[in-house]
Amino acid sequence: MATAPVGTLYRGGQGMWSWVAQRITGIAVFFFLYVHVLDTALVRVSPEAYDIVIATYKTPIVNLLEVGLVGAVLYHALNGLRVIAVDFWSRGPRYQRQMLWAVVGVWVVVMLPGTYYMMRHTVEALFGATP
């Protein structure tokens, strides 16, 4: 391996970790999608079968997993757009680090209210009404 990682995006540092996270979130979302098409296919079995399985989506623990899924998809989408910008935009490589901070920033700003709205019902059910 070369010793001077000048100008590479992938050898250690944020460039590599953002890529590792892109890979892990991609795999996770892909496996969710397999299961998700199977659960949706239950609409062809009977309304009851579909409703019983969808009821699990509404339980507290699965609700928390959904927040994780949305967080994973959101990161993958934002960082994917960043990768695309690095590849196609002439100044992309120069701004790739700033764009990574933008990805993190947008992710936090969307996930804060997103988590609130996704979890509101569960929190109310578990701990009583929220203010």
Binding site: T40, I54, V70, A77, G80, L81, D87, F88, M118
Partner: protein, 135 residues
């Protein structure tokens, strides 16, 4: 890597690759499908998890209401095909990266392609044959 670097790396690089542009098209497809999926998947997640009541309101009647409209049928169909092809191609890359033995690589990819084809066909069938009066 830029598009030009990419085709350069592919034409001069790696062992005994045939003169084929498949990898270049696959690379391009990941980017084009990615841009479209941003709207389809993030829109889907927003509707399903945040909009009026989120996941708590989903049931058979809800799906029946949505699939009564061709707009959402086309939306879901496009999302199904693009996400599955994008994800399958992504996993193909990952298998190529980590599975060292030729045999292992071959069988893992066969498993991937067969299961992905099954899911794409099943999902397509479900959208086209949906019957709101079933049961």
């Amino acid at each position: 890597m830029s598009l030009a670097d990419r085709s350069l790396a592919l034409s001069t690089g790696s062992r005994n690759r045939q003169r084929s542009n498949f990898e270049l098209y696959a690379w391009l497809f990941m980017r084009v499908s990615g841009v479209v999926l941003v709207f389809l998947v993030l829109g889907h997640l927003f509707i399903m998890n945040i909009l009026d009541g989120g996941v708590q309101r989903i049931n058979f009647a809800f799906v029946a209401g949505r699939w009564a409209s061709p707009f959402w049928q086309v939306w879901d169909l496009a999302m199904l095909w693009l996400a599955m092809l994008h994800g399958t191609n992504g996993l193909r890359t990952i298998i190529n990266d980590y599975a060292e033995r030729n045999q292992t690589r071959f069988w893992l990819k066969m498993l991937l392609y067969v299961s992905s084809a099954f899911i794409i066909l099943l999902g397509t069938l479900v959208i086209f044959t949906f019957d709101p009066t079933i049961g």
